[in-house]
Amino acid sequence: MIVVENVHKRYMTDHGFGHWVLKGVSFTIPPKLNVGLIGANGAGKSTLLSIIGGVDQPNKGRVERLCRVSWPMGFGGGLQGTLTGRQNAKFVCRIHGFEADLQDRLRSIQNFAQIGAAFDQPVKTYSSGMRSRLQFALSLAFDFDVYISDEVTAAGDAAFRKKAAAAFKDLADHASLIMVSHDETTLKQFCSAGIWIKDGKAHWFDQIDDALKAYKEDQNS
């Protein structure tokens, strides 16, 4: 269960504080529920995800994670460019406390990512598709209760996307997801509930279809 209570967030800009990205967001995500976050670009979806993931902190309000929550999986983050894929993977295993079965986990990460010899090359030499393959494989290597995903399914070539979707589906069966996506079919496929973010407020919908409808109606008006 994740409890988000009255979360406010604004960022520091070059000219002092920026506007409030989130103004008083509250909701509770019960266990075993997949939630899709929708909203226009810049509405604060990714901000909310990183606050839920514990990477960023709200200026006001609080977030309680009463379960094992993944880091926000998504573009770019979490990979150190100067290190190889293997070294990055080792690092992530170590900070999560998996020292004993490190080799097994490395093998499964390598097998899923399927980036061949590039696994032992610095990540900065990777193409964006290879990066997301590695990121996705990394996140699958641990059993979290809740996975936080920022458009991860949209990465890679067709073959990998198919594989990722299958793995994601499998994941969605035994763990819950909080995901951001602009792809309606992805959202409908994985999520049952939806949160629509508009003007710094979050609106909860028990059905993702209703959330998408509200979002679209608002855009058209």
Partner: protein, 274 residues
Amino acid sequence: MLLIGTCMRMENSLHHPRSSASITLSVWKALFLREALSRFFSSRGAWFWLLIDPVFHVAYLMVVFTMMRVSNVGGIDIATWIMIGLLAFFMFRVTATQVTNSISANLALFAYRQVKPVDTALVRAALEGVLMVAVTLILLTGAALFGHSVVPSDPLAVLEAFFGLWLAGIGFGLIASVANGLIRELGKIIHLIMMPLYIISGVMFPISAVPEPYQSWLLLNPVAHGLEAARLGFVPNYHSVPDLSMGFLYGFALVSIFLGLALHRRFALRLISL
């Protein structure tokens, strides 16, 4: 220090809840290995430059002093004087700059909530300490092969001086890393301060030869005290500055480390989100 690094962690581990301390320890271990790797192998022959940098400095100053026909300073062999002074100075400067840059070099890793900025700073400080000890030992061995006397007469005093410089480097780096992260212009000012530090710390000339009142001014710099103390520890008959004070160096180190940790505690979140 442990507390500051961990008190913001509310973490449920994957199989059994890990304590804050055990999370911190595994983060430190992972970071240490990650930092060591990039220090040794980030560029071609990085480990070679690690060693060649101080060697080159010593050789360069030796050539300059030989041309000026200076063979001893303050009653001790010029080679020993330069080498000890430089190594002691690097102990401070390398630690300080590496810790200062620790946050910007690890930005990608803050995607994991287990990793805090202060972790990267402290781990880098530990790594640099280990590396500088190794570099110092290698250089002294090299000098011994050339027939210089490199066995300190008071090893504890030398260790005390190097350790104090290391701590001062950590304190300086901790404060500078936060300052750098919050206000980018401060980074440039810190860089400006670091440049003349090489000269005013008495690496190239003996501070004891500077007339008053300027000598007292130079001795406001804690690093100068560390350098003189290290030389005095090697050769007891070295004519060091009369007002040499280890208390001043350690006082500076402890106050700056405390201030640095407090700044990290206060601004940790701002450092990551920038």
